[in-house]
């Protein structure tokens, strides 16, 4: 138990160090990139020069970037992500609004992917080199190959515009009932989940085939264990390690926001928040979103690593 706790603490400390490195790299890159929001405002005659000068001083844009980084890190350690340069709202508030939406979409997409990928992967492995296997492989290939933007627009066209079964855009509102939220979630999660499903299905199939070729499976079959038992009880769990790794990494990536899908479906998540901040050179928001993205990724990978031990008791963290 203590060994496990030590492992978690060690990983969290490494994660913290990684986060600090990321803030430094992002801060340096953003500061050295051309353009800043105050200049954008000045160029468009939307702000008078005296006010621009005040804003430059307020946001310390007249100081060298490494000095600003020091001040940023100091604020960060006090839990302050700063204020947006364009909206003047708290960055933490913007993130607090966008992040739950992204988590919701990520979980739903992952759910769609797993619901499709695991059964299909098992069927494909169980009926290797049959019509079922080939069909599943073709379906996976289609899922992986279809670009998100195209699939999203097609789904909107068919289910939103023609059949009018599902809403075209937006996140839905809880005050209108749970069904409103779910109906808004269906098309974006299918769009995002389909590509992932193809990837996970192929992984499930190949991992299962590897396990099914092992000695202990042959022994089990020789002992007369039913094929379904062999497949589900003896093989599936052992085949899950690579699937879990990939699914975990994908989950972590999706938590950073899926820019294209979020844009097409007007989903107010982290991807849109981040890309808009980059376009407007809104430094505090870029820093904040990157930080959350990196932290989510670190936490998710840690959870995945811990789950290995649950799936395979032979794995120990020492």
């Amino acid at each position: 138990m203590f060994t496990m706790l030590n492992y978690i603490i060690r990983r969290l400390l490494i994660g913290l160090f990684t986060l600090i490195c990321i803030t430094f790299i992002v801060f340096a890159l953003v500061s050295l990139a051309p353009g800043d929001p105050i200049r954008l405002m000045l160029a468009s005659e939307r702000i008078n020069p005296e006010l621009a000068q005040r804003m430059i001083q307020y946001y310390k844009l007249d100081q060298p970037w490494y000095m600003r980084y020091g001040a940023y890190l100091f604020s960060l350690l006090h839990g302050d992500l700063g204020y947006s340069l364009t909206t003047r709202n708290k960055v933490s508030l913007s993130i607090a609004r966008a992040f739950p939406n992204t988590v919701l979409l990520t979980c739903a997409s992952m759910g769609v992917a797993i619901l499709i990928a695991i059964p299909l992967g098992i069927i494909a492995a169980a009926y290797r080199n049959t019509l079922a296997d080939y069909s599943a492989l073709v379906a996976a290939l289609i899922g992986v190959s279809m670009p998100n933007f195209w699939l999203g627009l097609m789904l909107i066209l068919i289910f939103g515009l023609r059949l009018k079964w599902l809403p075209i855009f937006g996140i839905g509102r809880l005050e209108r009932g749970l069904m409103d939220v779910i109906s808004h979630l269906i098309l974006p999660s299918i769009t995002l989940g389909s590509g992932l499903a193809g990837l996970l299905m192929r992984l499930t199939r190949s991992a299962l085939l590897d396990v099914l070729g092992m000695e202990y499976i042959r022994t089990a079959r020789a002992k007369g264990v039913a094929e379904s038992q062999v497949l589900i009880k003896h093989s599936f769990r052992n085949a899950m390690i690579p699937v879990l790794t990939t699914a975990g990494l994908q989950f972590g990536s999706l938590l950073g926001g899926a820019m294209i899908v979020e844009t097409i479906f007007a989903w107010p998540g982290m991807g849109r928040l981040a890309i808009q901040a980059v376009q407007e050179r809104d430094f505090p928001v870029i820093q904040g979103t990157t930080l959350v993205f990196a932290a989510s990724f670190i936490v998710v990978t840690l959870i995945v690593d811990l789950l290995y031990a649950v799936i395979d008791p032979r794995i120990r963290y020492e």
Binding site: G35, E45, R46, I47, T86, R88, L153, A266, P268, L273
Partner: protein
């Protein structure tokens, strides 16, 4: 005979009944971004300003010709060139039913609120240029006196008092930063909820000083243009006022109503301090070598474009001067090549491109990722290449484009996409704006003189003459090669009536307009 007459009258009556404004319904409008609707932190964000127009009352309205019309101020006068006196409407109440003014406990909008709002707008990034305002005071509860430091001909412009929204001080002080999310004004609609980057939900202000037809309005963020078009076609939104010209043509065929909401200027700009564009002959030659009409015809539908000969579009009546400026533009590639030769540019090495001192005449046309502009520029670059100029189109990110223009680091020739409002000419070509909005680095004392005088001339005719003289010098100096004014368009369901977005922002309830939805 009488029966026929009766039937005709009945049909006519039905027709009139059908056209009469109806009350009720919620209007759903597409937005690109919703960020912050504090009346005095709007900068130039079109969507936020459009929401603000529904929540707050402006001091004055501007009509389709950008002429001032009464709003909160019913009348105004100028006792002298630097004094403006505004008389406020009586009985206008701030919205109630919120945490600042509980139901039935609101108060009247007074001159003190106007003074407070004016100073607040000066202090914050409101997007209003109020530098000319020296002081403001309330003479009595319904009279405001504003003194300017010098005569300001554009004080009622959309970027000055023409968009000054009036707020109650106690709401700003009580709500703090949350005023940007839950503002209180005296406009035709009250905020129900505002979620940045998602939606703004508004309901009718029952106590508004004008009758309001709509029950409510929703601004909904839909970033993707394709999704938005499908939402409009599916009836999930009623107005999309950010459509490109190609979509506008298609939607018009489907029966949607296309509204024009303004002109924006497009041209080729030069940094006149950067070689080889510091040589007037080079700039002049390039302008003669471009078949601009052919390029525009190939890309833009005729209904959505006006050929530009200067920087002021038709919506700037004191500067629009096609008759005066058109003769300055001539498509004559042969003469253009002669001018370049006189400037020392000729093909000495026989590679098909002009050169001078061993350097090829290379133009890297810096452009924003704007589909139509890129297509026009590609045609123009092809024309120049066929005449021996190594012209390329460089598509860059907006921030990079802006930074290059402001710092002068770019190639020196760029896509000129600029503010084409009433004071646009001043921003772009006055020498005091070098380093900010004068990205041409252009300095001409004569232009400065005419613009300075025009800015302080209240008489329209005299101001117009000065403005046009300044513009003529700019064009003669070939600081820019004007290409076209692009019409910005919006589309609405045919069931939506009596709204307008001219000038760039949606107005639903004004003394001249009162939006309604046909049931």
């Amino acid at each position: 005979m009488n029966k026929k007459l009766l039937v005709m009258l009945f049909v006519l009556g039905l027709g009139f009944w059908g056209l009469a404004a109806q009350t009720g319904g919620v209007l759903r409008i597409r937005a690109l971004q919703l960020q912050n609707i504090d009346a005095h932190q709007l900068l130039g964000r079109n969507d936020d300003i459009s929401v603000a127009y529904q929540v707050y009352d402006p001091l004055i309205h501007l009509d389709e010709n950008l002429m001032p019309r009464p709003a909160l101020a019913v009348s105004w006068e100028c006792p002298d060139d630097t004094t403006w006196v505004f008389h406020l409407r009586h009985g206008v109440m701030f919205q109630d039913g919120n945490e600042v003014f509980p139901e039935g406990q609101s108060r009247e909008v007074t001159a003190e609120d106007v003074v407070y709002s004016l100073y607040r707008a000066k202090e914050l990034p409101s997007g209003l240029d109020l530098r000319s305002v020296a002081s403001a005071r309330a003479i009595d509860p319904y009279t405001v006196e504003i003194k300017t430091a010098y005569p300001d001909a554009f004080l009622l412009d959309v970027n000055r008092l023409g968009r000054l929204f009036i707020v109650p001080r106690e709401a700003v002080e009580k709500l703090g930063n949350d005023f940007s999310l839950r503002p209180v004004g005296s406009g035709p609609f009250k905020i129900v909820s505002f979620v940045p980057q998602q939606r703004a939900v508004l309901k009718r202000n029952e106590d508004y000083w004008l009758p309001v037809n709509l029950d409510g309005v929703e601004f909904i963020v839909i970033p993707d243009p394709q999704t938005s078009r499908m939402a409009l076609e599916a009836g999930e939104i009623d107005i999309d006022w950010f459509i490109d010209v190609t979509t506008a043509e298609a939607l018009a065929k489907e029966g949607f109503v296309i509204q024009r909401r303004g002109y924006s200027y497009r041209g080729i700009g030069f940094n006149v301090t950067k070689p080889p564009f510091d040589d007037w002959r080079v700039r002049m030659a390039l302008s003669m070598m471009l078949d601009i009409d052919a390029a525009i015809r190939a890309v833009l539908p005729a209904d959505f474009v006006v050929r530009a000969y200067g920087q002021c579009p038709p919506s700037v009546p004191h500067g629009y001067d096609p008759e005066g400026l058109a003769p300055l533009h001539e498509y004559n590639p042969t003469e253009g090549l002669k001018l370049l030769e006189a400037a020392g540019w000729r093909d000495t090495d026989g590679d098909g491109f002009l050169d001078k001192d061993g350097q090829r005449l290379t133009l890297n046309l810096e452009i924003l990722p704007e589909a139509i502009g890129v297509r026009v520029f590609t045609i123009l670059a092809t024309q120049l290449r066929s005449l021996g100029i190594d012209a390329k189109v460089w598509q860059v990110d907006t921030s990079v484009w802006t930074d290059d223009l402001l710092t002068g680091k770019g190639s020196g020739i760029f896509f000129d996409f600029s503010y084409a409002g009433p004071t646009g000419l001043y921003s772009l070509f006055h020498s005091t704006a070098i380093g900010t909005s004068n990205t041409h680095y252009y300095r001409n004392p004569a232009v400065d003189y005419f613009l300075d005088r025009a800015m302080r001339t209240l008489d329209f005719e005299k101001r117009s003459q000065l403005w046009k003289r300044a513009q003529r010098i700019v064009v003669e100096d070939r600081v820019i090669i004007p290409l076209y004014f692009q019409v910005s368009a919006g589309a609405s369901s045919p069931k939506v009536h009596d709204w307008f977005a001219w000038g760039g922002f949606i107005r639903l309830v004004t003394p001249d307009y009162n939006a309604w939805i046909e049931k």
